[in-house]
Amino acid sequence: MKQAFKQLNAEDFRITEEPYYLPIADEVALFESAYKQQLPVLLKGPTGCGKTRFIEYMSWRLHRQSGNHEEEGVPLITVACHEDLTASDLVGRYLLEGDDTRWIDGPITRAVKVGAICYLDEIVEARKDTTVLIHPLADYRRMLPMEKRGELIEAADGFLLVLSFNPGYQSALKDLKHSTRQRFIAIEFDYPGRREETAIISAEADCHAEIAADLAKLGEKVRHLKAHGLAEGVSTRLLVYAGKLIADGISPRRACQTAIAQALTDDLEIKGTIEEVIDSIFEE
């Protein structure tokens, strides 16, 4: 099945098929309530534990709940933050066209205008000035100041600001300012338990249940090594990758070596240990 090229405006992107998401606790109810009350949300959790998938799922779910009117649904605009992300990248900029200039809305402006969920992934990676920009949007004002145009935009009803943040690997330098933090309700994510993770892996990777269970077991064991030299535990995403490789016929040990041991660390000793654990769990 080949997917053809498709181009959309950011605000037109909607999730129409249900993404796979296995609720772990009450996060779905919490998010729904927050959305209803227009409370900005901060998703905390280690990498690859399902934050992005959750927000996709919620976008789809809220969309579905709003009935048959497609237009009233909740589009999702995702911005992956990086070190050079400036305020104007988010808000918008003038572009030159011939001798004229033309204004282009940035993603956040689009979200504000159409009432989308604006998801700023890994917000601490962005430059400090961008975080200040979102302050008026993230409290009762729900306003976006556009300095260059001398305008203020009041957010449409469906707009919600969602940030993700990984408290684990940031250095002391990259922490969220309290003035930012305290504008959000925070939903904490962690790696799922063995049973849930088994279900997730087997659904996502489409692999045998026994393999999924072993991968989940491996995940649990490897996460014990966190704080013993591993900066981050193995993510569910990597476990799913391993499951996919296995489902495609790669031997389990080899699949785990490439998808997990090698992916996680370059430290020989820890890598060696992870491989020992892999060898202990999977037969040759």
Partner: protein, 1054 residues
């Protein structure tokens, strides 16, 4: 008148005239003359006697006395020769001549007359005019005969030469050795004597003062070598000593001691190998022998050749002699690596990091892993040193494993051990609740209690309460161990499928090492059968024909535990069920019974749930003739080491003790330990144990708090090891010792041996501790005294702040327009290209992110006072280098506080590689407060300067600190120097190279090192040591305090 009378009469008068005592002697000699002597010969003899008497009457007396004995051995002509020789000797000393005559008959009984001349010549050479030399010569003649009993002519001659040579150094020593010689050679075999003399010659040639010790202890040392090799061994020592002109005695004692440790069948080979090595490198041969025991414990005899060959190759390749010796001392990483690859044996220490991580992965973050000897040393109820076990928090594994020939397999054994022990924890072996029902079986404890008609102690741990229900504690403990281990093994095999094949392989190995069934009592054999079945070898079970059905039932019941969902309570019930069968069996020796022993029938149903009431078979063994007298006490079955000892009752008790010290009374604990049959008769100090648990508890809390900072794998080891170091006298004379020792954290660093071109692994032990606190006065005084200077420094440092603003260019938005970019943009636009309007610039505040560690030399030499006439303002009397270092510290702290960089201040000193003292005055992340001020006061000169290790430790701390720029400033007063930091006291190269290597390591990690020395000779070695590393020599020591902040400012604002 007889001819004898005539002869007597002829000389009597003249002799009497010379000495009245002579005639009777003469008369006696005349009477003893053999009748065969011709008259002319008699005549000549008499005349000779008179001639001698004229020289010395004692000489004549000796001559007369010896005559009969001489004539019995030689023909009469020799008498005349003796006279002549005696006269010759008389020139040197009459007493010596007398000694010669007295000794000559015995001499001639071993040698013929032709040897006389040479003998006298040898003896004569000892006489060098002094009475001592004469005495030595006398001793020589007197002891010759005895010596000749064990020595050949050649050997005797050589020995004489050795003694003579020794006498040139010390007459006394020569006499002592000669006196001892007879006994020594009598104790040696004929084949060893010549070699012994050769080595003696070598001893005299190199270290003559050792000669006596050599004669005294040599034979005993030699006796540790197998008999037929002693000669070769002596040759080897001679060869080694001769090659380097090194003292042979220490070589002899070291190598003999080393060889003594080895099996005697290997001696010949070892000596041969060593002498092959010695022909290339003598020192290495000694090291080879010294290490050989260690090496052989790890590798096979064949592999030893490979080991030696590698060392020889190093030698041939032209490596430095020291490097080769270091290889054989196993002090180089290369040597250890090779040893590891040749050896199948796996040492826990070597793989500790990896295995600990593995245990953590399997058992969770709290899981600790240690070597079993640690547990036995703690004396809290476990005694086996070579088996795996767990005490509930920590898994213990044997210190080494050598089950299989190759390392990979043995590492797998470690993994199996760890998986089994962590399995006990994760699969709930210790989570038994008294009276709990199993998943398959109902609890029978209430019924048993009723039967017992006694209440069990509620205060005991559940397991202990359970065991109290049974009439034989040993038996129930054994059975429970086997049943529960079966369950755990089954769980582990399901959980870790990858280990299954190794578990089976190890199981077979263990099953092959089980004791012979017939050597056991019947009850023991029953338990043994269960254990075999539990190891997966049902086919090795044997049982008397009459009871085979029951045995089958028992083994099948055990199989129930292989179901994955069976619980510990099921184990308890099965064990109890088996107990009822076992306890009914008599413990007669299985041999006495004389039944036919059969294997179990094939194809029984595995995992059948047994009837809760076992069908007790007919008492088939019962025989009136074999009465109770044949019963032997039940001996605890030995568990395979991988499963190790299992003490659930102790673990439960300890766990509850950990939670609450008062949960178990002292008496109960005492009883618990007494019940643990293995430690019967040993005294366990309960108070000590309670203290131990308490302190462990406390430290585990600390660990939790610190776990973020310190992820070093072997923390616990270090804790354990500091016990040894506490005995080190170099710390012991520190008054703060007791308290300080508890706070020392040990780290281990490699040291660079430039000769071997390799690291010496974990060579230096660096003990980090907080510096003591002194008074505040010093700090405030220094501030007051230098207030002008400090103000200036602060101003300078505050000026550094603007340097931290960086200009960002090519922005779309900013405070200023960059002209160049703006013009470019404009031109582009005119040309019709539409680039982005990025011509703004902005000054952005970039956080200054610098961490600096100051490492102060606290060596003894910093005590030196400074006298400097040239200075305008004379220094206060008695100001020492260390005082200036302290003062500099104060100034630099003031400066750094102004700028806000993270900084640490450390001091270092120490003595020897095992005790590098590293004092923390201020940590990188520590706030500057009064305690830091007070610590500066206690910076005092201590001992030596092992710079490399201290640098490595400071760098390790810097690396773990988050900062963009990391700087190490080393302030010292001279070259690195420590005991053992180089070949000898004059070898500075080693220390310099190691220090350089340490700095290079830091550079590689992105640390900027900088050296400041106040040593005027600094440039000599700094050029070598630093090469591309910046350094400065502060020639005017007194200016150090004002120079230091300046140097830092230059360095940190680059």
């Amino acid at each position: 008148m007889s001819s004898a009378q005539t002869l007597f009469d002829r000389y009597r008068h003249e002799l009497a005239h010379l000495d009245a005592d002579l005639p009777p002697v003469f008369q006696k000699a005349v009477q003893n003359l053999p009748s065969t002597l011709a008259a002319s010969q008699q005549q000549r003899w008499g005349e000779d006697g008179v001639v001698l008497a004229r020289t010395s009457t004692r000489l004549a007396a000796a001559y007369f006395d010896a005559t009969a004995h001489l004539l019995a051995r030689v023909d009469p002509d020799v008498l005349g020769d003796c006279k002549e020789l005696a006269l010759q000797l008389t020139d040197r000393s009459p007493l010596v001549a007398v000694a010669f005559l007295q000794a000559s008959p015995d001499f001639l009984s071993h040698r013929d007359a032709a040897a006389l001349q040479e003998w006298v010549h040898q003896g004569g050479r000892f006489c060098r005019g002094s009475w001592k030399s004469a005495a030595l010569a006398q001793l020589f003649f007197a002891s010759s005969a005895t010596l000749m009993q064990s020595l050949s002519a050649n050997e005797f001659q050589k020995l004489a030469a050795v003694i003579l040579r020794l006498s040139e150094h010390s007459m006394d020593l020569a006499s002592s050795c000669l006196g001892r010689a007879a006994e020594v050679f009598a104790s040696l075999a004929a084949s060893e004597r010549l070699d012994f003399i050769d080595l003696a010659d070598q001893v005299v040639a190199t270290t003559w003062s050792d000669a006596w010790h050599y004669f005294e202890s040599g034979p005993e040392l030699l006796s540790s070598v197998v008999k037929d090799q002693r000669g070769h061994f002596l040759q080897l020592v001679t060869q080694i000593s001769a090659a380097d002109a090194s003292p042979p005695l220490p070589i002899l004692s070291a190598t003999a001691g080393a060889i003594a440790e080895m099996a005697s069948v290997e001696h010949a080979e070892l000596i041969q190998l060593a002498s092959r090595l010695a022909s290339h490198n003598a020192a290495a041969a000694v090291e080879f022998l010294k290490s050989v025991l260690f090496v052989r414990q790890r590798i096979t005899r064949e592999a030893l050749h490979g080991w030696l060959a590698r060392g020889l190759q190093l030698s041939v390749e032209g490596h430095d002699r020291d490097a080769v010796a270091a290889f054989f001392r196993i002090e180089t990483a290369g040597a250890q690596l090779l040893l590891g690859s040749l050896s199948g044996r796996v040492e826990f220490e070597r793989f500790a990091g990896r295995l600990r991580l593995y245990a953590t992965a399997l058992g969770g973050e709290e899981m600790q892993l240690q070597s079993s000897d640690m547990l036995a040393e703690r004396n809290i109820g476990w005694v086996t040193k070579d088996a795996a076990t767990t005490d509930g928090n920590t898994v213990f594994v044997p210190a080494s494993i050598d089950q299989f020939g190759d390392q990979k397999a043995n590492l797998q054994v470690y993994k199996v051990c760890i998986a089994h022990q962590t399995g006990r924890l994760t699969f709930g072996s210790f989570r038994y609740g008294y009276g709990q029902d199993g998943r398959y079986l109902k609890s029978t404890v209430t019924a048993r209690e009723r039967q017992l008609a006694k209440e069990t102690d509620f205060l005991h741990s559940p397991m202990q309460r359970l065991f109290d229900l049974f009439s034989s504690r040993r038996l129930i403990a054994d059975l429970f161990t086997i049943v529960e281990d079966t369950r755990i093994d089954a769980c582990v095999q399901v959980e870790y499928k990858g280990l299954r094949s190794w578990m089976l392989r190890l199981g077979s190995h263990m099953a092959s090492e089980r004791p012979e069934l017939l050597s056991l009592g019947l009850r023991e054999a029953f338990v043994e059968n269960l254990l075999r079945a539990s190891l997966g070898h049902r086919e090795t079970v044997r049982w008397p024909e009459e009871g085979i059905e029951q045995m089958t039932q028992a083994v099948d019941a055990l199989q129930l535990m292989t179901r994955f969902d069976a619980s510990v309570a099921d184990s308890v019930e099965i064990a109890a069920w088996l107990f009822d069968i076992a306890v009914a069996l008599p413990n007669f020796s299985a041999r006495v019974l004389g039944n036919t022993w059969l294997p179990l029938p094939q194809g029984s149903v595995a995992g059948a749930i047994p009837d809760t009431s076992p069908r007790v078979a007919d008492r088939w063994w019962f025989d009136e003739g074999t009465a109770d007298a044949l019963q032997q006490p039940y001996a605890v079955s030995s568990q395979p080491f991988s499963r190790g000892s299992f003490k659930p009752e102790l673990v439960q008790a300890l766990t509850s003790l950990h939670e609450d010290r008062d949960s178990i009374s002292k008496e109960q604990l005492q009883q618990l330990l007494e019940n643990s049959e293995e430690i019967e008769g040993e005294d366990v100090d309960i108070d000590l144990l309670l203290d131990h648990i308490q302190s462990e508890l406390a430290s585990s809390h600390d660990d939790l708090q610190e776990s973020d900072d310190d992820l070093q794998e072997s923390e616990d080891d270090l804790q354990e090891r500091d016990g040894d170091l506490r005995e080190d006298e170099s710390i012991a004379d520190d008054p703060l010792d007791e308290e300080v020792a508890a706070t020392i954290q040990w780290s281990y660093y490699d040291e660079w041996d430039f000769r071997a071109n390799d690291y010496r692994p974990a060579w230096c032990h660096v003990g980090e501790r907080p510096a003591g606190e002194g008074e505040l006065d010093f700090y405030t005084e220094t501030l007051k005294r230098n207030h002008g200077l400090i103000a200036a420094i602060r101003r300078q440092f505050e000026l550094m702040r603007p340097e931290t603003f960086r200009k960002l260019k090519r922005l779309e938005d900013g405070h200023e327009i960059e002209l160049d970019q703006a013009i470019e943009f404009h031109a582009d636009r005119k040309a019709g290209i539409g680039p982005l309007a990025r011509f703004y610039s902005r000054r952005d505040k970039v956080e200054r992110n610098v961490a600096v560690a100051f490492l102060l030399d606290m060596s003894a030499s910093t005590v030196d006072e400074i006298y400097d006439q040239s200075r305008m303002d004379p220094l206060p009397a008695g100001k020492r280098i260390i005082d200036l270092e302290r003062e500099s510290t104060v100034l630099i702290i003031e400066a750094l506080e102004a700028i806000g960089d993270s900084y640490a201040i450390y001091g270092f000193s120490g003595q020897g590689r095992k005790n590098v003292v590293f004092q923390v005055i201020k940590e990188l992340d520590q706030e500057f407060d009064d305690s830091v001020r007070k610590r500066i006061d206690t910076i005092e000169p201590m001992r030596a300067t092992r710079m490399g290790a201290a640098i490595r430790h400071a760098q390790a701390k810097l690396i773990s600190y988050p900062a963009k720029v990391r700087i190490l400033m080393l302030v010292s007063d001279g070259r690195p120097q420590d005991q053992g930091y180089g070949r000898d006291r004059t070898d500075f190269d080693y220390a310099v190279h190691d220090t350089k290597q340490a700095l290079v390591e830091g550079k590689r990690e992105g640390i900027v090192p900088f050296l400041i020395t106040v040593d005027k000779q600094g440039p000599d070695y700094l050029k070598e040591m630093c090469q591309d590393i910046s350094y400065t020599v502060v020639a005017d020591v007194a200016s150090l305090p004002e120079r230091l902040p300046g140097i830092y400012r230059q360095l940190a604002s680059r």
